[in-house]
Amino acid sequence: MNGARVEFRGLRRTFGSTTALDGLDLTVEPGELVALLGPSGCGKTTALRCLAGFEHPDEGEILVDGSDITPVPANRRDAGMVFQSYSLFPNMSVKENVAFGMRVRKAPAAKRHARAQELLDLIGLPSIGDRYPHQLSGGQQQRVALARALALEPRVLLLDEPLSALDAKVRVTLREEIRRLQLSLGITTIFVTHDQEEALSMADRVAVLRAGRLEQVADPATLYDRPATPFVAEFVGTMNHIPGRVSGDRVTVLGQMLPVDGEVPGSTDVDVLVRPEAVLVTPEEDAGGLVMVSSFRGSIARLTVVLPDGTEVLSDVPGHDAVRLAPGTRVRVALVERPVLVSAATERAAGATPRAAVAVPEHNAV
């Protein structure tokens, strides 16, 4: 089983007055797992549904291995899909569900059963073939749905937030399993998610979408470390915006001189973008910073520290330091010595209150 190359070219789709896709261009290499990440309404699911044939783009084309598939009806497309909601046919046993596609194609019964069993072995549930969907847990149902999608050996696998209905533990194990299967089968996979952690941990590349357009597509480490746009910086993970002053290719921020990474904006007053884990805090009796809030998350604790000028900075410290850095503690704040991203200080220029950090709702970050 080998993956196909999938190309979205200038894909546009509007629903009434809302634009779901606004000229999306994206190429997925054969055998690659690409996560489409974005807030709800960014068009990621629409893109996937266009590829599956459930939506038709108003403009643009979708190429699979070089041929345009937009005129092909959904039931003739070579793409297996796993849905967000439980999609197993309730009237059929697990085995019949997995064999459904082969039955549609009129494969002989013996072959169907053998293949279904093979797939159940593959997903690690060899003995549930005779059960019915309502007798399975959510995680098992999604595994079976994955087996069903893989049964026809499609060249593209589409995953539409398949893990979002599951509880945190199952989600983590299942995503590792999906990744393992995908690598061993070498199937081109497009994974839609709004969970950045899921996207970063599973994908070869992550494509961040915003309002129907591609903001950035890059491997997870690049995306996290060098976000191309402020939107990506804020959507993926959490970013502190700390006021700084540029001089040459260095920037002065919180009394430190740090090299600037990437482009230097024209103005000298800038926002320095720093991840919370790159903000170091040390308790010190007469220091300027004050811990306002400490939110404990097990392995880490996220502190909100207020600086003397009123700027709020988020800092991640190891969980075992949380007691030492309880709210009310005076702390000294420093940044890790490494190149930093800067952006023009738009927010303060617009007269907004000094806002340091934009926290994106995180989904079970622990």
Partner: protein, 292 residues
Amino acid sequence: MAALTPETLPAPATVPEPGARPGRPRRFRAWRGVILFFAAVYFLVPLIASFAFTVKEPDQGFSLDAYGQIFSAEGFGRSILLSLGLGVATIALVLLLTLPAMLAVRLSVPKLRPVLEIVCTLPLVVPPITFVAGISRVLQWGPDYLATTPLYQTIISVQNPDFPIVLVLAYVVLALPFAYRALDAGLGAMDVRTLVEAARNLGASWPHLLFRVIVPNLRAALASAAFLTLALVLGEFTIAQLLSYQTFPVWIYTISDSQAQVSVAVSVFSLLITWLLLLGLSSAGARQRSGS
């Protein structure tokens, strides 16, 4: 701690017994009994009275003769077969109309759902007498210059007394609200869109997915739609009587003049059959819910 945990947990202990729920206060249970009693009186008294009437004989005191006479009574077989035939045709037509329409609306134009609902519910508020007046007016209409056209022949043939298609058409309209309600509940209980898309994704054509995915999962809803429609057709009197067709209810009414006991016996008998059907239906629904 872990060492104290037995390897295999005793399974039954984790499942609460059905009767083990803490009982409700006795006062409520007494009220339940009272309500049940009144409901039972409401339903059972007319029934018992009817039954008593059918078995009372002036000389012997008790006789099931009236029930024996049902099957030999003139016109019984013909009228019940006619009504059953009308029922089956109505069921087929009403399901054929509503199911695809409801699926199409749910899948592609959800905005039209309220419209469909209103259209399907409308027959409930139209009195049958108005309805039948309209129908007979339409049937009488047929100017002579149309006498040689297929339209005229169609109007004639739908009124064939052996199998009046016009009654099927009328009953389809009357059955729409019941079929709609039953199917709507059934479709609401499953994620139609996802199931359809999953089946399409696996290569199923529309007929395949309709008969292998949608219909099997709608069995209970289809059965109850069919049952309600059948009950409606077997009990409908006004339209059939005014258009002068000898359906089962019309026949019962006709013989009540000459053989009062037999006509009541037939009513009790048909009620019994209806109950048996209902019982079979609800147990079929229960079986489907348990998934076996």
